[in-house]
């Protein structure tokens, strides 16, 4: 499970460099998210533009990551591909997270 991280305008951007977040890697994703965001203070933007598929285990792992950052830090989602977007919409989890079409859109909004 490869995640890369950068900081821009007081936001930590974590990009998932994998095509799937499914049951096989959900636990690894949770662990890597914890390691990658540990000790920071910024809002985290999770860039999912490389992720083509997510199942309910992957969704649960993203929720776990959000809970791990709370209450001091927020988790924002960006770059949802069609099937990933479908999972968030059907479960109404899109109403729990801030969801942006791209990282750029998230940065513009969050800086404003």
């Amino acid at each position: 499970m490869e995640l890369t991280s950068s900081t821009e305008h007081g936001l930590q951007i974590v990009t998932v460099q994998e095509p799937r977040i499914d049951a096989a890697v959900a636990l690894a994703f949770k662990d890597r998210m914890r390691d990658t965001t540990e000790g920071g203070i910024d809002t985290v933007v999770l860039d999912l533009n490389h992720v083509q598929f997510i199942d309910s285990s992957g969704l649960g792992a993203i929720v776990a990551a959000m809970k791990n950052l709370a209450p001091d830090r927020k988790l924002i989602l960006a770059g949802l591909t069609p099937t990933v977007d479908k999972v968030f919409r059907l479960t109404r989890m899109d109403s729990v997270f801030g969801v942006f079409p791209t990282v750029e859109a998230a940065l513009t909004k969050l800086r404003a």
Partner: protein, 145 residues
Amino acid sequence: MPELLPFAVSLKGTENAVRDGLAQAMACLAPLHLNTDDAGTVELVLAEALNNVVEHALASTPELTAIEIRGSHGADGLHITVIDCGAPMPDGTAPLAKTPNLDVETHDMPEGGFGWYLIHTLATDVKYSRVGAANHLSLQLPVGV
């Protein structure tokens, strides 16, 4: 209507094998030329069905037991049956679609329980039966019609 011959895919009952099994099943559907939305629907429902088998029915015997996916296509869409020889459903039927309760504090936000909800939301018909020592989960998906 596109022509799809009935197909069967066999996989081991582990999380990693589910990935390969899904890829094989999706490759079998190539003749239907599903659009991204419909292909996503099929892959998602099938993934949740297979994950359930691995996590519950085969929880104690994952390496020993195989799962079979059978598929066929007709005027009303795609018919998929997932077969395993693991433990039966606890109350003899497929769990119902429980809408996840998101009206809670952040620390109580659900991290699971979405699987059957997604299956029931996306499939038009969901039937479970115990046939001898096997579980049969039949799913109908309104795609490729």
